[in-house]
Amino acid sequence: MLRRLIARPEFGPFILLALELFVFWAINPEFLSPLNIGNTLAFTVELGLIALAMTLLMTSGEFDLSVGSVFGFTPVLMWTFVNGGMMPMEIGFIIAIVTAALIGLVNGWFVTKLKIPSFLVTLGMLLVVRGTALFITNGFPQRTWDAGGHWLAEVLVGDFYVGPFRIYMSLFWFIAAVIILGYVLNRTRVGNWIQAAGGNPGAARARGVKVDRTKVALFILCSTLAGFAGIISSVRTSAANPNSGMGYELEVIAMVVIGGTALTGGRGTIIGTVLGIFILRVMRNGIVLIGVPGLAYNIFIGAIILGMMALHSWLERRHHAGT
């Protein structure tokens, strides 16, 4: 029982997160204050939405470097339409989300039809999308404070208090995504196809699995959730900045691999990604609270990635050697 528990890819991230929480709390008890927890959760779930979709995409053997750009571009597009009086917020939201989905479709088409590695395709898309966001805004943020009180803004990111904790609606979107994507990956036929597409695409094709279609759908999911997260963030911060989301792609991929999803595909875990999300966000928040210079953040993140990769690799070899 204990051996099986230790062999699970989520075990290492779970211990690391518990350790982090304990160390930061021991050094500065304010770390677990309601205010700090509320603030950490608000931003964590926005990035987390992208990481959840990326988990499925990486399990299928691909990844998407354009998610940070889509995170910045989608709200810029929506607020350009809405602020310009061209359409109501609901229509702007739908158009922006559909555009994000189309970006994913293009990524998927290049990867599956033209057989270009996802690294190159999404690197190109990263530049195209970011460049477009900067071009249409002249590099200036779009104001979003008109959203205040609008029903859609309330549904996306409205906040309320549960005791001393300030909770944003985005937390529920995140929880819903965890449940739905966890179910899809672990319990459904599609989940089996995603794992097979990443594990042995040739074998999956030979069994009649539509590998390319599965991957295209996951690229679309990734871009759509990145756009959705960007819009949530823009409403919460009252600004749609064309530069926002820069560097998120690498942070999101780090969250996913720290959680135990294989970079090479074939194996993925939503629970592991949730742990990975919290490991990185808690680290970012905690080192500031205990007085470590924020500029040192990347040293810790890099060390965590290296440590977790070594642990996952060791567990994997041990698992195979033991059977």
């Binding site: 089996n192 196809w193 794992q195 594990g199 074998a203 999956a204 059977t323």
Partner: protein, 261 residues
Amino acid sequence: MSEPLIRMDNVSKFYGRIQALENVSFTVNEREIVGLLGDNGAGKSTLIKVLSGAVPLTSGSIYVRGKKVEMKSTTDAIAAGIETIYQDSALVTQLSIARNLFLGREPIKGPRFLNRMDDEMMNQVARDLLKQVGISKNIPPETPIGSLSGGERQAVAIARAMHFESDLIILDEPTNNLGVAETQGVLRFVRGARDSGHSCIFIAHNIHHVFQVVDRIVVMRRGKVVADDIDPKKTTVEAVERVITGMSDEELAHALGPNTH
């Protein structure tokens, strides 16, 4: 005489300007194990790829029980009852035995829109199949394929073909990289498949393995079938080796007797 299970008539295949198959005619009868032999580049792999729908033929026809079929994809071949087990077993090492067995044809439980796999049913069927193909060790069906030995993986692939009632199971080098005991296990599975009503095409470089299990040997050379009715009980490994490497008609007739073309 009844129609053979599989009949390929004058099948040719070109890769660009290179002809890989030249007017190949080839049959497999019901409940028959056919050994397909030939040196590297003889055309065995291309023939199998055409028959399994992995590559389209350039000209010619394929019939299943007398009915002409189009093999445009592996899905077409599977639908026609043809299952191919490649050297790497076409399995996904990260998935469990049960999920590999049902990959692409997973049973659904509950409302269709929920797309939920029936893991309980898949595990139960996997348990029964593993017993059926003679895996005596008590391996749970949730075990990832990556944890199994080479012979056990081949057994799982054969079990899959048997479960889905494939009429023809094509085994491409199934004994490659296997130890003696595992090889014997695979040969036993192949005989078991025939005994339960399936036909097989068995491709192996090791002619001794072929001799142990097949009913008939077909030899290919330079994209052509040069002998298609060799009875392993009436000839020797050395004689077949001479056919594979090429020899004159007189030598061929002398070595193999009147059945040779």
